[in-house]
Symmetry: C2
Subunit: 449 residues, 2 copies
Amino acid sequence: MTKPSPLSGFPELLPTQRNAELVIVRQLAHVFELHGFANIETRAVEPLEVLLSKGEIDQEVYVLRRLQAAEDSHDTGLGLHYDLTVPFARYVVESSGKLGFPFRRYQIQKAWRGERPQEGRFREFTQADIDIVGRDELAFHYDVEVARVMAQALADLPLPPLRMQVNNRKLIEGFYRGLGARDTDPVAVRRIVDRLDKLPVAAVRALLEDVGLSDKHAELCLALTQIRSTDGSFVDQVRGLGVEHDLLDTGLAELAAVIDGCRGLSNERFTVAADLRIARGLDYYTGTVFETVMAGFESLGSVCSGGRYDALAVEGSTTYPGVGLSFGVSRTLVPLFSRGLLTSTRSVPSAVLVAVSADDSRGDSEAVAAALRRRGIPTEVAASAQKYGRQIRYAERRGIPFVWFPGGDSTVDSVKDIRSGDQHAADAAVWTPPLDDLRPQLISKEQTP
Amino acid sequence: MTKPSPLSGFPELLPTQRNAELVIVRQLAHVFELHGFANIETRAVEPLEVLLSKGEIDQEVYVLRRLQAAEDSHDTGLGLHYDLTVPFARYVVESSGKLGFPFRRYQIQKAWRGERPQEGRFREFTQADIDIVGRDELAFHYDVEVARVMAQALADLPLPPLRMQVNNRKLIEGFYRGLGARDTDPVAVRRIVDRLDKLPVAAVRALLEDVGLSDKHAELCLALTQIRSTDGSFVDQVRGLGVEHDLLDTGLAELAAVIDGCRGLSNERFTVAADLRIARGLDYYTGTVFETVMAGFESLGSVCSGGRYDALAVEGSTTYPGVGLSFGVSRTLVPLFSRGLLTSTRSVPSAVLVAVSADDSRGDSEAVAAALRRRGIPTEVAASAQKYGRQIRYAERRGIPFVWFPGGDSTVDSVKDIRSGDQHAADAAVWTPPLDDLRPQLISKEQTP
């Protein structure tokens, strides 16, 4: 084999980075499970007609064909899923008779898109999704719950500051309707306003006037997008614009409930805020919408998005409404890894390397390792009876914090913290490393400006 | 959406089954990490030339093309990996400068093969692999170690009895060479003997004579395949056949070391045995070889296989020898799930459902849930303030063992074990469920003959 090169868009992690990703993925799973979300995995492939039913991203799908299939029938009709929502919707409909609703699930899996790779946009990437889906109905309080659960999962991660921005489609649509511009399509208005991150304000104002809004109404629409708050004060700010509509009232109450429900979860690294500019491009959202930006990494776009959809899936006369959030594990972590801003304390799980004093005493070292493992301490035994200096360097290169020296028949065992050099007598039946040394820990660095 | 049908060969699990798979996968990962194996994940795709370098299974590869790519260039040149060994070998060579050798890794991922589905043979399946790979050399004691680690990982799983059968290529080849049949190719002999599971003994004997073995020598080859033992007694049995060769001695010593190293790990559900018939079809094994059969499921073939290969990969003048084992997670578990022989205690992680007495007291129930979660107890809150009977049935259907009734301002809280009906006063700040109820547990049933 000649030395292979990485494939653009298919990031792979070195063991030290993977340890950091594992810590984070396990912490996400832990929080999701604490809140009763059941894990599922869906197959990597879906029939093309399922993947293309949304219509917008067909150019990005990878289609499978069997290498040795007959020339004239080489496609399997299957493609790799490009997100976890489409397969989840299919799974819910397929298994609906065997699931309990509301069905709360989390799913941490890879997805694939054949798009041009750029930072944070990969051809293969891991997503961590939570959704709650109902049959025919789903109470609003689940919007608050998914926000709280994801906020709790993300708030304690040592990432650059995250800001989860929440808005509500009913609020926006009610506002546009309340303007009284009866002939104006609120969806068209929303789509124009959604272009504020790409177009200058004047251009957006002109487009709003093109679809029939008066100067004053266009100005009100733009004023709405300026409103944001980390508490319920956005409600009075919206009221101050003087627009009234029942749907606006519902939207304001829902958004206030989400912001209020996440009270107490914000900290210096994680904020939940009402932000009346965000709308999410996708048309299937019908209420709460979420986007999350990472400070210093705004160019990645949203790293955690989602919202309420009244019809995740429809089968016959049954509708499955849902609400959920999707955290881009690869989108968030890979840029941090590649800039050296996130890593872990070591490349192996081992907390202890048991030294080998002579090749024929390897069994003694194995016995020490077995005793430590019985008490849950990840341990490996040195490769061979090299000089102790070389065995210590073996541990150092891997970030293993402790080296254990079996005493043999004559002396007692001792354990050395190779970072400090401290060495003391120890008994493998009782010695325990500090909790922070038991497993690889995350190391995050501040981005230098 | 019309109700979708399952795709043949792409098994998906219901949440209760997935909980069982999760328990098992986490237990495997825990044991691997206790022994210092670092986790890695490789991308799902490899360049076709990497996938096809082994040559034998090209008809099974799924090739990717981008749906909207130009007609005349529709293949990406990438295929889905069909095992975890080929991508691991490529990863080792690609990252060799950044890895510490010997490199111990585990990998639990899906693989894909476009083959015809049958029980235990899927188009998408999960494997759990451990390997130790060296640069230029790898001490024999690692053969013993991977056997011990996998044995320890599998021995405590509530599966039908597993028998890990170990042999050694040096032993077999040394035996054939020791016969003195100089003109006979030992590889040819091994391949013929390997057909004993498909051909009658007489046919195999005839084939052996076809390649130049005498009656007596063919008989000795067949006698060798009859030898098996769960201890070192196989050595004397082989010696009793009167064949001598240095390579045979080495193979006997290595096999005896593996069997001896796994002493103490066998129990009523898991056995490690020397079995001199098994050879593994793949030519790249050069020493220890492993196969594992599951009692009552012999038709699945081996559920955990592997061995020693002197050249996992070669790059320039550097060789990477390795030894490893691969456990077929899907191959083993999916047949057990589909026959109802393995499941878990519930479909959700939740140990507690907190009831809601009135819609406006949902906050009280949420506060109880938060208190329980802070102490690591997975908890969900009832969907709505239905009659308590319906809330209890909600818990029952999901297998949630406890329902919590907030007392409100007037009375104390109480918790009910809905299996026994026992209900008693409880304080969310201190109450803890029995350890066995904290997380979903495996339930295994004996196969009825």
